[in-house]
Symmetry: C2
Subunit: 216 residues, 2 copies
């Protein structure tokens, strides 16, 4: 994994240059990548964004690609951790409950790391860094599909939709949040994750013949 030139823990701005720490440089770079596209962004654009000369920015970052790698790892680390966490709940927790937890946690991570996840979801595999990120995404997707399969096998999820289709549709819905969700908007992360879990597991149709499930 490619690391930033300055670590998050370095509190000392270097003399004579604006005192950016690694996380700040990364956050601003992700903003520019999302705004104008990674391919179309030059290291000069990033320097301008940060008010640095083109030579000074190399004291902060080794390359544009190192920033992309760090951003994609940030998003992927969060999603991987959420799945590991749910898997570690172990067999005493049903696959159904672990899947609900993973869906909820995915929404929270997406909302929390919206710019990095947005960048990740636009990656098309145009470089080694992008191919490595796509490979990590596939590992995550495979684990999600296995968890769905487990929940179908234990009889708690409908068996008339193929598990891999269920997985793609549910996490497609979660990922589509990057198109419209804004942390400063009117919908809270908690309401949003409740809505997505309710929609995915219980559906939109009013259950008139039985009481509404108390799923919150």
């Amino acid at each position: 994994m490619i690391r930033m030139a300055e670590s998050a823990g370095d509190p000392t701005p270097r003399r004579g240059r604006p005192g950016y720490d690694g996380p700040t440089v990364l956050r601003r770079a992700i903003e520019v990548f999302n705004r104008q596209g990674y391919e179309a962004t030059s290291i000069g654009d990033l320097a301008r964004e940060l008010g640095l000369t083109k030579s000074a920015i190399y004291h902060h970052v080794p390359s544009k690609e190192a920033l992309l790698a760090a951003a994609l790892d940030e998003a992927l680390d969060g999603l991987s951790a959420a799945i590991e966490e749910a898997a570690n709940e172990g067999p005493e927790t049903s696959a159904y409950d672990r899947l609900r937890t993973v869906v909820r946690r995915s929404v929270e991570i997406l909302a929390d790391q919206l710019p990095a996840v947005t960048l990740l979801l636009r990656v098309r595999g145009n470089s080694e860094v992008e191919l490595a990120a796509l490979k990590r995404r596939r590992v995550i997707d495979d684990k999600l599909a296995s968890l769905v399969q487990e929940a179908v096998d234990e009889g708690s999820l409908r068996a008339d939709i193929p598990p891999e289709v269920i997985s793609r549709l549910v996490f497609g819905m979660v990922n589509s949040l990057v198109e419209w969700y804004r942390p400063e908007g009117p919908v809270s992360v908690e309401d949003l994750s409740n809505s997505i879990v309710d929609l995915a597991f219980d559906g939109l149709t009013t259950k008139s013949s039985s009481p509404l499930p108390a799923s919150r």
Copy 2:
């Protein structure tokens, strides 16, 4: 609306040039736009793709932007027609049934016009043509949200998720198909649209206390 230089109905290839009709040029252009990005595609790239010289391609298309406009209109016309069609079913059909129809038809149109819809969903508003497409998308989104609201009001959809969130989540799930659905793949359009309607309206949880809804 910007039209192609040669209409779809023109069967006569011009002498001395490869005989492309308008729809073929458009289809090939959409492929290139999706593969390498619209901004990064030059009219020279399109000429190369079609085996034409750069001057010959102007006999087929007025500009790169005219191709983009035609592609986006194709996708938007299909989606608009599906919504109009459902709206025209009129008040004797419940909003619930009209919404199910719209979701189903949206999946069919997306599958049928996958390249044009993919291009549409990547548009960010970087030109007049893109802004016009985003405006048409918003009109569609507003109509979808109204239909969801109607279904909530008639009591057939759950009222504990805001209608605009329902609309965004359901059509976010539909739109996410462009990321993985391939017409030549193992999942048929019919199965896919059934799965999406079932997931959205009835949810994934096995209904152990009541028979599975016979929603197909």
